[in-house]
């Protein structure tokens, strides 16, 4: 694309640096921005600058927060002895939306992925070990992605947690609720069969 303005080109470059946004989409978005007033553009741009300046990481679990600690860690009604390990804040939002978990979280900020150059030292793992040493924890719940990287990370963490003799569980994997059996992939179906559970009348 031969954009006739270096300023538009720079904006397109910046927007297309975001994951999943190509040059064409970026140009469409930039032209939409260009039609807005100067105040609107400043509000748009300043949102990101003030976010970067003000958003902190919770000193306990690594969740994003406007305060030193996040609202979940500060909540006295949450069960502090149960820690759910997640990859990032979006997983917390998903689990919180179920309204069926009352423990606290620990945000890794990613998963071990040698292909992307992410090793254990890039993740929020040392503070987790510190929590295990200083707090009284009963259960660790692994809630990472059901991928090879997620499994690798689970295994790495498990090795670190074993010495503390804490119960370690992971989210159950199986056929999705509401989905038809014939469309489940083979691996999911075979795991689902292997980990079959006693029938419960709900």
């Amino acid at each position: 694309m031969n954009i006739p303005s270096k300023y538009i080109e720079e904006s397109v470059d910046q927007l297309s640096s975001l994951p999943g946004i190509g040059k064409r989409t970026a140009l469409r978005l930039v032209l939409n921005l260009l039609n807005r007033s100067e105040e609107e553009i400043e509000r748009f741009a300043n949102a990101f600058i003030s976010m970067k300046k003000n958003v902190k990481k919770c000193s306990c679990c690594g969740n994003v927060s406007d305060l030193e600690m996040c609202t979940i860690c500060l909540n006295p009604r949450r069960n502090k002895s149960q820690i759910c390990i997640v990859e990032d804040i979006r997983d917390i939002l998903a689990i919180e939306a179920t309204e069926s978990y009352l423990g606290v979280y620990h945000v890794l900020g990613g998963i071990i992925s040698p292909m992307d150059g992410v090793g254990p030292s890039d993740l929020n793992i040392l503070p987790l070990i510190e929590r295990l040493k200083t707090e009284s924890i009963n259960e660790i719940i692994f809630a990472l992605s059901a991928t090879m990287e997620g499994d690798t990370t689970n295994y790495y963490l498990y090795k670190k947690i074993v010495p503390f003799s804490i119960e370690v569980t992971s989210l159950s994997r199986g056929v999705s609720v509401g989905s038809e059996l014939q469309y489940a992939d083979e691996l999911t179906l075979s795991r689902s069969l292997l980990h079959r559970q006693p029938f419960q009348v709900i």
Copy 2:
């Protein structure tokens, strides 16, 4: 979504104000930005502010430009008596990419669309009439979208141009090059049949 930071929420709101970006996508993009350095965020944000401050509209055709007039209008080798009417700059980029047009453009900045509240007075039409009065124009080429709104706008412009007795043409419509006939929609196919052309050996 119950985002635990009002700064992140504001950034998500700003990004999801762009067309085609939902709240979930915006959150994914915002978390990507949050992992960047403060300098990178400032470069990201300032790109939009300096774009808004510096990008001008070409005083002749309405194309975006860093100067008072765009590079196409300033180019002495372009045929100034042939004007191609387009909706926005992306259409210019598409036509320029064909390298088969040597005239100049006129950018409307949209098309007449009562559903979206866009009327003729919101478009760059008066300056076009002014060009017809003052410049010596031989041909106007309609290159708007092949939609009902595009056709409405073509008709409106045609009525305005008729008094000047200038040749008015529009892009040919028909079956796309390289596409199979059976997949063409009925309207395109019937138009294509109606406007059939003398066979040419290329």
